[in-house]
């Protein structure tokens, strides 16, 4: 039978062979961690500690001020050196808690629950929220919010997203290979929390072995593993739902509008650990790869570890490296300051040397961006509207629907920075809207 997938999209080179068979290594906690209080979608957390405080690993150091926000926890035990501005991988310096690691790693983990499956949905969600879990796929959306959709939107299906469609990244793959039981149990917890009927674990066909492994561990009848044809951006929620269930999330809507909750495998594992062991989200698995890294690895890293420490552990940067990316090559963000720390949403760290920028031509209207846009947009037209300031037209042509997956720019023969134009348009249009409201 033909494997499922979604329409359009692209086939970028994989790059996964660099790290696919590298088992997850533990990066020793560094001497100092810098834990930004803003690592998630929504408002920054408010500090709960001050300079000089002695704190334990897992202790809550930042409190979410609003619903769409997440708590922040210490990733090492030790003394608070400062609560101050510190470089952040997403741009401006933000308030961060600097902790001097005392090396004790003494924990403040919450109580363990031997049989988490007997918990009420509210209790599961409470424990997830307490653990400060956010989506680990990259968007860093607070997970507890996702698990509690509005009452009038019943959930029937949980999708566990193991697509990892971004090239080079293998952290989710390693998690599936090394912790299949935890992922399945975590998925079951999500199902219980949302009262859904079935769970689909989706894996692309370039990771068949992981899919087989997962399938072999499943006992329950309502959990399936679905192998999908490899294509980017399969892991984008809306496309994944379309591929698996043939349901279209309405424009401007969210997965729960079609009765679905999507969670990344890393998040699923974190949910398991939070509910079962009361362990907050203070570490995660990242892939460190790219031609600029001498020893590519999959690493379990404490949140707040400076990039420099991570890179040094993988053999430092090679000569001539001029491009450092946090995240995958399609949606990741370029880094320039090695003092910036790893945050909850960091899925990978890639380094390579780029050739001199290729000449940008005027659009030749080849239509490849249209052909490949998974959202059905017309990127070249959008970019031009934005370039010339036709905001109304850009909005009418759906610029706000763009998920910035980068398929258009990847396939553009004229090397036009389409995604940047579109992001500019989205930013300007939202600003204009705020102004008029």
């Amino acid at each position: 039978m033909k494997k499922k997938t979604f329409p359009r999209g692209i086939h970028p080179p994989g790059g996964k062979e660099w790290t696919a068979d590298k088992a997850i290594e533990v990066l020793p906690p560094p001497e100092k961690v810098y834990i930004p209080l803003h690592q998630h979608f929504g408002q920054p957390a408010q500090p709960l500690v001050k300079k000089g405080d002695t704190i334990l690993r897992g202790q809550k150091i930042g409190k979410a001020p609003a619903l769409f926000s997440a708590d922040v926890h210490a990733s090492v035990s030790g003394k608070v050196l400062a609560v101050d501005g510190h470089p952040h991988p997403l741009g401006k310096p933000v308030l961060a808690v600097t902790i001097a690691n005392d090396g004790q790693d003494s924990s403040s983990d919450e109580e363990e629950i031997p049989d988490p499956f007997s918990l009420s949905p509210e209790e599961i969600i409470r424990r997830v929220k307490e653990a400060g879990i956010v989506g680990l796929g990259g968007a860093a959306f607070p997970t507890a919010v996702k698990l509690a959709p509005p009452a009038d939107k019943p959930i029937d299906t949980i999708i566990i997203n193991g697509c990892e469609c971004e090239p080079f990244l293998t952290s989710d793959y390693r998690l599936m290979k090394e912790y299949p039981e935890e992922i399945i149990s975590g998925a079951e917890l999500i199902r219980l929390a949302t009262n859904a009927k079935q769970i689909i674990i989706s894996v692309e066909d370039n990771k068949e072995d992981a899919a087989e492994l997962l399938a072999s561990k499943i006992q329950e009848k309502h959990i399936f593993v679905e192998v999908l044809t490899t294509k980017y951006p399969q892991g984008a929620e809306k496309n994944l739902i379309l591929a698996l269930l043939k349901r279209e999330v309405p424009r401007g809507g969210l997965p729960f509008d079609v009765g679905v909750v999507v969670q990344n495998v890393g998040t699923t594992k974190a949910i398991w650990e939070a509910v079962r062991f009361g362990r907050p989200l203070y570490q995660r698995v990242i892939t460190v790869s790219g031609s600029g890294i001498p020893e590519p690895k999959n690493l379990l890293v404490r949140i707040g570890t400076p990039l420099q420490t991570v890179i040094d552990f993988c053999g430092g940067l090679k000569e001539g490296v001029n491009c450092l990316i946090m995240g995958g090559p399609m949606m990741g963000i370029t880094q320039w300051n090695l003092e910036a720390p790893i945050i909850k949403g960091t899925s990978g760290l890639l380094a390579w040397s780029l050739p001199p920028a290729s000449q940008v031509f005027d659009c030749i209207r080849c239509g490849r961006c249209v052909e490949h846009c998974p959202m059905g947009l017309t990127p070249t037209q959008l970019a031009k509207y934005i370039q010339f300031g036709f905001w109304d037209e850009a909005e009418a042509w759906g610029v706000l629907d763009c998920v910035e997956c980068g398929c258009c720019q990847y396939s553009c023969p004229a090397a036009i920075p389409l995604v940047q134009w579109i992001r500019l348009g989205k930013a300007t249009i939202s600003a204009l809207k705020r102004k008029t409201v």
Partner: protein, 325 residues
């Protein structure tokens, strides 16, 4: 150690290896078999016409780039070369050189640069040049010579389509044999005659995915259906679809001109309407119009419709619910 500095840019950080110059180069390569065929059939006349058109096109492009203070490196994208080649291929072999140069200058200046250069033009530049020449020098543009492989005693020579239209060739049983059309052993525009050579290049382009196969397919389909209906009804009066497909500028038009990315729609549905429209118009003009050949006009006419097509055939956004009309 010097401090490492990093590139700051927006995602994505990967790119497909295809680029504008590579695309243009592949089009040029794909035209070479037909160029070779035309040199074989028309000898030195072909060579000088190619040179004249290329020189006219490239020089005009360079002048405009210089005047607009754009990098001359843009010249290297190869689009001017394609325009020059395509224009030459659609000219009668006996055309005067100065006229060919005028065509090339018009093609680049009025067909392309006044709109802002590559990517901004509305109409296919080569066809603008061709249409200009057709209207400026109607006699010269409709005077044909036979290929050197055919020795004929008359001074003038009709193209297969001219023969069909004006001599009522079907009834007279003087229709050019399909074999000659296929090999190119007949009169006509420089690069249009040899269907075989053009198809070789076209196959390369389709295989390389430089052009969208749906455009030629749509044109061929709609022209075949259109001419087929009339042929089935009156085979004594109308030529077969196959004759129409192989004769005149249809192949070069369908594979190399209608597929010009800049002037064809960017939306998939728009592309299909565009292609069907061209095929239909070709049929309409060839069967009922004043001219024996309609490929050039059809493509130009559909070019004018492209902006509207792009607008009205915007793809459905994921999750978008469109009101039923």
């Amino acid at each position: 150690m010097a401090e490492t500095t990093f590139i700051i840019k927006s995602s994505p950080h990967l790119r497909h290896p295809d680029s504008v110059p590579k695309i243009m180069l592949s089009v040029i390569i794909s035209l070479l078999p037909a160029v070779a065929a035309s040199v074989y059939f028309f000898r030195w006349r072909a060579v000088v016409l190619y040179l004249a058109c290329l020189a006219g096109a490239i020089l005009t492009e360079a002048v405009f780039l210089a005047a607009r203070k754009k990098p001359l490196s843009t010249l290297l994208d190869g689009s001017a070369v394609i325009t020059g080649l395509l224009l030459a291929m659609t000219l009668p072999p006996s055309l005067r050189l100065d006229q060919a140069v005028i065509g090339a200058v018009v093609a680049i200046a009025l067909g392309k640069q006044v709109f802002g250069g590559l990517g901004h033009n509305i109409f296919n530049p080569a066809l603008v040049g061709r249409a200009f020449l057709q209207t400026a020098f109607p006699v010269a543009m409709t005077t044909w010579i036979p290929p050197v492989t055919k020795i004929i005693n008359t001074a003038t020579y009709a193209t297969p389509l001219g023969n069909l239209k004006f001599q009522n060739a079907v009834a007279q049983h003087t229709l050019t044999p399909l074999k000659d059309l296929f090999w190119g052993n007949t009169g006509g525009c420089l690069g249009e005659t040899s269907a075989l050579a053009l198809l070789i290049g076209a196959l390369y382009l389709v295989a390389r995915k430089t052009i969208d196969w749906k455009i030629p397919a749509g044109i061929i389909l709609s022209l075949s259906v259109f001419t087929g209906i009339f042929w089935l009804a009156r085979p004594d009066k109308y030529a077969s679809p196959l004759f129409h497909l192989l004769s005149g500028g249809l192949i070069i038009g369908a594979f190399f001109m209608a597929t010009d990315m800049v002037t064809s729609p960017i939306t998939p549905r728009g592309t299909i309407i565009y292609a069907l429209g061209i095929g239909f118009l070709v049929g309409l003009i060839r069967l009922f119009g004043g001219y024996p050949e309609g490929v050039m006009y059809s493509i130009l006419l559909m070019n004018t419709v492209v902006p509207l097509l792009n607008r009205s055939t915007r793809p459905r956004l994921l999750g978008e619910r469109r009101a039923k009309k």
